[in-house]
Symmetry: C2
Subunit: 217 residues, 2 copies
């Protein structure tokens, strides 16, 4: 089974690496990091670079693909090369998935038209403008399409996907292998649970970073 | 604040990227991926390469460092360059931390002699042989040293650390930013919770992989 994770400038590392860590452990699966051109792609912080080992044209019909999120997605909504790759890959994929704002690119490719999907809680409005029906669930399945909420939710999504692909026992064994028995020290992981002042703070910070990136590009 | 995450051949990606995703969001913090030499280091699956942007000698006194785990740790227990780097960095660090089998290297550097620490549940025996007192808690703090359990536990550890460094509200805001409101589809993330047959299966698979790597090296 060939699994593709497309990278791009200013992606969010955990969006890509969470699903990688689960899906790379599926028996017979190979995860490929791919990009418009091979070589290093760096995160939005510029502190981490992951190598794209293949270019998009070298893996056009993966069995599964995962679009990670990141600030860089906004610049790709109108990028013909990436959006065409997604549209084409979706025609033959067994599973089409995204984490965080990766779903904006699935929506831009027309894959989420009129259906329920999710994204980072900060971007429900944009997801809706792109044609989907945003919902605040952590993992949203619509046929062969699975979208996950912000950043860390890709781990949960990948375990759901692993169970679909290889059965519950394999998914449970992978969960045990990565010792995924989460114990966050706070209960502040969603806007419904966090202090409203922190929700406002994170919203303002994210808007500022987004504007800074747009001004710089 | 300078935060170092040393990489090496056959590391586990999520061990490094979970803490990166949390700690890179601390105000004023810079996370550096470092290695004996700069350039790509690949995971034990060989499917993912992260760039080491600095070599060990370029950052010998970080404020914080995180040793990720992976099969590659076993070859480093006797590696003077890495162990000396850890021992030296620990002399001046504010926080010395590890994820998964990264604690084997802290132990090899003498940092865990006679104190409680944790590691991946498969490696308690080896951690004990290296002088520590293994415990099965997810995040174990001993003064300025924090060790975390297997792979995904690095996210929980990094949130604990973020709170120590910058206060609870900053840690909670980071948790909200990465939408860390975990919802695993199964409750199989620790040997105490998983089906005993799956614990046995994962143990056998891990031993096989370890032997394969040792035979190949």
């Amino acid at each position: 089974m060939q699994i593709a994770i497309p990278l791009y400038d200013r992606f969010t590392a955990l969006d890509a690496v969470g699903p990688y860590e689960v899906l790379s452990r599926l028996p017979g699966a190979t995860v490929h990091f791919i990009a418009p051109e091979t070589g290093m792609k760096r995160t939005e912080t510029d502190m981490l670079g992951i190598n794209a080992d293949l270019c998009l044209g070298e893996l056009t019909e993966p069995d599964v693909f995962v679009i990670p999120g990141g600030y860089g997605t906004r610049a790709l909504i109108d990028d013909a090369q990436m959006i065409d790759w997604i549209r084409h890959a979706h025609e033959t994929s067994e599973w089409t998935t995204s984490v965080c704002t990766g779903s904006l690119l699935l929506a831009a490719a027309g894959i989420l038209d009129g259906v329920e999907a999710t994204t980072h809680w900060l971007e429900y409005d944009l997801l809706e403008r792109l044609g989907a029906k945003p919902v605040s669930r952590r993992v949203v399945r619509q046929g062969k399409v699975i979208t996950a909420a912000g950043v860390s939710s890709g781990i949960d999504m990948a375990l759901v996907l692993a169970a679909e692909i290889a059965g519950d026992d394999v998914a449970k064994a992978i969960q045990l292998g990565i010792e995924y028995d989460p114990e966050p020290p706070f209960d502040s992981g969603s806007p419904a649970k966090a202090d409203p002042q922190l929700v406002e703070l994170v919203t303002q910070l994210a808007r500022g970073e987004q504007e800074e990136l747009e001004a710089a590009s």
